[in-house]
Protein backbone atom coordinates (compact mmCIF):
# COMPACT_ATOMS: atom_id res chain seq x y z
CA UNK A 1 0.00 0.00 0.00
CA UNK A 2 1.86 3.05 -1.26
CA UNK A 3 1.64 6.04 1.03
CA UNK A 4 3.12 8.36 -1.58
CA UNK A 5 2.06 8.13 -5.22
CA UNK A 6 3.61 9.75 -8.23
CA UNK A 7 1.33 8.66 -11.05
CA UNK A 8 3.39 10.06 -13.91
CA UNK A 9 6.56 8.03 -14.50
CA UNK A 10 7.80 10.56 -17.04
CA UNK A 11 7.29 14.13 -18.20
CA UNK A 12 8.79 16.04 -21.14
CA UNK A 13 8.72 19.83 -21.42
CA UNK A 14 10.32 22.40 -23.65
CA UNK A 15 13.13 24.54 -22.30
CA UNK A 16 11.80 27.78 -20.84
CA UNK A 17 8.33 26.37 -20.16
CA UNK A 18 6.87 25.34 -16.83
CA UNK A 19 7.33 21.82 -15.45
CA UNK A 20 4.66 20.58 -13.03
CA UNK A 21 5.28 17.39 -11.10
CA UNK A 22 2.49 15.93 -9.01
CA UNK A 23 2.25 13.74 -5.94
CA UNK A 24 -0.60 12.31 -3.85
CA UNK A 25 -0.35 10.95 -0.32
CA UNK A 26 -2.68 8.91 1.80
CA UNK A 27 -2.03 9.77 5.44
CA UNK A 28 -3.27 13.14 6.67
CA UNK A 29 -0.98 12.86 9.73
CA UNK A 30 2.12 13.60 7.67
CA UNK A 31 3.42 17.04 8.49
CA UNK A 32 6.56 17.58 6.43
CA UNK A 33 7.05 17.10 2.72
CA UNK A 34 10.15 17.24 0.55
CA UNK A 35 11.25 16.98 -3.06
CA UNK A 36 14.53 15.32 -3.99
CA UNK A 37 16.22 15.32 -7.38
CA UNK A 38 18.36 12.44 -8.64
CA UNK A 39 20.82 12.26 -11.51
CA UNK A 40 22.06 8.88 -12.82
CA UNK A 41 24.82 7.25 -10.76
CA UNK A 42 24.41 9.82 -7.97
CA UNK A 43 22.48 9.89 -4.72
CA UNK A 44 19.30 11.93 -4.35
CA UNK A 45 19.82 15.58 -3.47
CA UNK A 46 17.43 17.72 -1.49
CA UNK A 47 15.59 20.32 -3.54
CA UNK A 48 12.83 21.99 -1.54
CA UNK A 49 10.48 21.26 1.36
CA UNK A 50 7.24 22.43 2.90
CA UNK A 51 5.62 22.13 6.28
CA UNK A 52 1.94 21.22 6.60
CA UNK A 53 1.22 24.58 8.18
CA UNK A 54 1.99 26.24 4.85
CA UNK A 55 0.45 25.90 1.40
CA UNK A 56 3.34 27.26 -0.65
CA UNK A 57 7.11 27.50 -0.47
CA UNK A 58 9.31 29.11 -3.08
CA UNK A 59 13.04 28.90 -3.74
CA UNK A 60 14.21 30.53 -6.94
CA UNK A 61 12.78 28.69 -9.92
CA UNK A 62 11.23 26.02 -7.69
CA UNK A 63 7.88 26.29 -5.92
CA UNK A 64 6.12 23.58 -3.96
CA UNK A 65 2.37 23.72 -3.37
CA UNK A 66 0.53 21.74 -0.73
CA UNK A 67 -3.22 21.08 -0.80
CA UNK A 68 -3.96 19.32 2.47
CA UNK A 69 -7.65 18.79 1.85
CA UNK A 70 -6.84 16.97 -1.39
CA UNK A 71 -3.68 15.34 0.04
CA UNK A 72 -1.84 16.62 -3.00
CA UNK A 73 1.61 18.07 -3.47
CA UNK A 74 3.07 19.63 -6.60
CA UNK A 75 6.42 21.00 -7.69
CA UNK A 76 6.61 23.79 -10.25
CA UNK A 77 9.83 24.60 -12.08
CA UNK A 78 9.84 27.89 -13.99
CA UNK A 79 11.56 28.32 -16.35
CA UNK A 80 12.66 24.76 -17.01
CA UNK A 81 16.28 24.23 -18.07
CA UNK A 82 17.99 21.22 -19.69
CA UNK A 83 20.03 20.75 -16.50
CA UNK A 84 16.76 20.11 -14.65
CA UNK A 85 16.44 16.78 -16.48
CA UNK A 86 16.49 14.21 -13.67
CA UNK A 87 14.27 11.93 -11.63
CA UNK A 88 12.21 13.83 -9.06
CA UNK A 89 11.02 12.11 -5.91
CA UNK A 90 8.16 13.26 -3.73
CA UNK A 91 9.08 12.40 -0.14
CA UNK A 92 7.31 12.43 3.19
CA UNK A 93 9.11 12.74 6.52
CA UNK A 94 7.73 10.56 9.29
CA UNK A 95 8.74 9.48 12.77
CA UNK A 96 12.46 9.29 13.60
CA UNK A 97 12.85 11.39 10.49
CA UNK A 98 12.26 8.36 8.32
CA UNK A 99 11.62 9.24 4.71
CA UNK A 100 8.99 7.59 2.51
CA UNK A 101 9.67 8.05 -1.19
CA UNK A 102 7.32 8.07 -4.14
CA UNK A 103 8.33 6.06 -7.17
CA UNK A 104 9.69 9.11 -8.97
CA UNK A 105 9.02 11.07 -12.15
CA UNK A 106 11.64 11.30 -14.90
CA UNK A 107 11.67 14.89 -16.14
CA UNK A 108 13.20 15.59 -19.52
CA UNK A 109 13.67 19.21 -20.56
CA UNK A 110 14.10 19.50 -24.30
CA UNK A 111 16.38 22.23 -25.67
Amino acid sequence: DQQVKQNSPSLSVQEGRISILNCDYTNSMFDYFLWYKKYPAEGPTFLISISSIKDKNEDGRFTVFLNKSAKHLSLHIVPSQPGDSAVYFCVISGSARQLTFGSGTQLTVLP
Binding site: V4, Q6, Y32, L34, A41, E42, G43, P44, T45, F46, S49, S51, F89, S93, A96, R97, Q98, L99, T100, F101, G102, S103, G104
Partner: protein
Protein backbone atom coordinates in the same frame (compact mmCIF):
# COMPACT_ATOMS: atom_id res chain seq x y z
CA UNK B 1 29.42 17.47 -0.69
CA UNK B 2 27.81 16.21 2.54
CA UNK B 3 30.80 14.10 3.58
CA UNK B 4 29.35 10.64 2.97
CA UNK B 5 31.38 7.83 1.46
CA UNK B 6 29.94 4.47 0.50
CA UNK B 7 32.13 1.45 -0.19
CA UNK B 8 32.34 -0.46 -2.36
CA UNK B 9 30.67 1.47 -5.18
CA UNK B 10 30.07 -1.71 -7.18
CA UNK B 11 30.03 -5.35 -6.20
CA UNK B 12 29.13 -8.61 -7.92
CA UNK B 13 28.78 -11.71 -5.81
CA UNK B 14 27.09 -15.09 -5.74
CA UNK B 15 23.93 -16.24 -4.02
CA UNK B 16 24.54 -17.45 -0.49
CA UNK B 17 27.66 -15.39 0.19
CA UNK B 18 27.83 -12.77 2.95
CA UNK B 19 28.12 -9.14 1.89
CA UNK B 20 28.90 -6.04 3.93
CA UNK B 21 28.43 -2.49 2.70
CA UNK B 22 30.00 0.42 4.51
CA UNK B 23 28.84 3.98 4.97
CA UNK B 24 31.26 6.51 6.41
CA UNK B 25 30.40 10.10 7.34
CA UNK B 26 32.52 13.05 8.39
CA UNK B 27 29.61 15.26 9.52
CA UNK B 28 29.12 13.83 13.02
CA UNK B 29 25.38 13.43 12.38
CA UNK B 30 23.38 11.36 14.84
CA UNK B 31 21.05 9.69 12.35
CA UNK B 32 22.18 7.29 9.61
CA UNK B 33 20.01 5.34 7.19
CA UNK B 34 20.23 2.56 4.62
CA UNK B 35 17.86 2.53 1.64
CA UNK B 36 17.53 0.39 -1.44
CA UNK B 37 16.30 1.60 -4.79
CA UNK B 38 14.48 -0.68 -7.21
CA UNK B 39 12.56 0.12 -10.40
CA UNK B 40 9.01 1.27 -9.67
CA UNK B 41 9.61 1.65 -5.92
CA UNK B 42 11.63 4.77 -5.39
CA UNK B 43 13.86 4.37 -2.32
CA UNK B 44 12.78 2.14 0.55
CA UNK B 45 14.17 2.24 4.06
CA UNK B 46 15.99 -0.91 5.23
CA UNK B 47 17.37 0.05 8.65
CA UNK B 48 18.34 3.21 10.44
CA UNK B 49 20.40 4.28 13.41
CA UNK B 50 19.75 7.07 15.90
CA UNK B 51 23.05 6.74 17.72
CA UNK B 52 25.98 4.42 18.45
CA UNK B 53 24.62 0.91 18.97
CA UNK B 54 21.05 2.21 18.53
CA UNK B 55 19.36 0.84 15.43
CA UNK B 56 15.86 0.01 14.26
CA UNK B 57 14.11 -1.66 11.35
CA UNK B 58 12.67 0.04 8.32
CA UNK B 59 10.12 -1.02 5.74
CA UNK B 60 12.19 -3.77 4.06
CA UNK B 61 14.51 -5.10 6.78
CA UNK B 62 14.14 -8.87 6.20
CA UNK B 63 17.47 -10.44 5.21
CA UNK B 64 19.53 -7.47 6.39
CA UNK B 65 21.34 -6.56 9.58
CA UNK B 66 23.18 -3.41 10.57
CA UNK B 67 25.75 -2.27 13.07
CA UNK B 68 26.98 1.05 14.29
CA UNK B 69 29.96 0.89 16.65
CA UNK B 70 31.17 4.42 15.90
CA UNK B 71 29.33 7.63 15.06
CA UNK B 72 30.96 7.83 11.65
CA UNK B 73 30.36 4.27 10.39
CA UNK B 74 27.14 2.40 9.61
CA UNK B 75 27.46 -1.11 8.18
CA UNK B 76 24.81 -3.03 6.27
CA UNK B 77 25.21 -6.82 6.13
CA UNK B 78 23.51 -9.39 3.97
CA UNK B 79 24.21 -12.61 5.86
CA UNK B 80 23.38 -14.85 2.89
CA UNK B 81 22.76 -12.86 -0.26
CA UNK B 82 19.83 -13.71 -2.54
CA UNK B 83 19.10 -12.57 -6.08
CA UNK B 84 16.17 -10.47 -4.78
CA UNK B 85 18.71 -8.31 -2.96
CA UNK B 86 20.23 -7.16 -6.24
CA UNK B 87 19.69 -3.42 -6.02
CA UNK B 88 21.29 -0.03 -5.61
CA UNK B 89 21.90 0.77 -1.95
CA UNK B 90 22.04 4.30 -0.61
CA UNK B 91 23.25 5.53 2.73
CA UNK B 92 21.94 8.79 4.17
CA UNK B 93 22.74 10.94 7.18
CA UNK B 94 20.52 13.30 9.10
CA UNK B 95 20.82 15.95 11.75
CA UNK B 96 18.74 15.74 14.94
CA UNK B 97 17.65 19.35 14.63
CA UNK B 98 14.11 19.87 13.38
CA UNK B 99 13.32 18.82 9.85
CA UNK B 100 16.74 19.21 8.32
CA UNK B 101 16.86 17.17 5.09
CA UNK B 102 18.81 13.96 4.84
CA UNK B 103 21.93 13.87 2.68
CA UNK B 104 22.68 10.85 0.56
CA UNK B 105 25.80 9.05 -0.58
CA UNK B 106 26.31 8.13 -4.23
CA UNK B 107 25.18 4.55 -3.82
CA UNK B 108 26.50 1.00 -4.09
CA UNK B 109 25.37 -1.08 -7.02
CA UNK B 110 25.12 -4.70 -5.83
CA UNK B 111 24.53 -7.61 -8.21
CA UNK B 112 23.89 -11.09 -6.84
CA UNK B 113 24.14 -13.85 -9.38
Amino acid sequence: DAGITQSPRHKVTETGTPVTLRCHQTENHRYMYWYRQDPGHGLRLIHYSYGVKDTDKGEVSDGYSVSRSKTEDFLLTLESATSSQTSVYFCAIGDHRGNQPQHFGDGTRLSIL
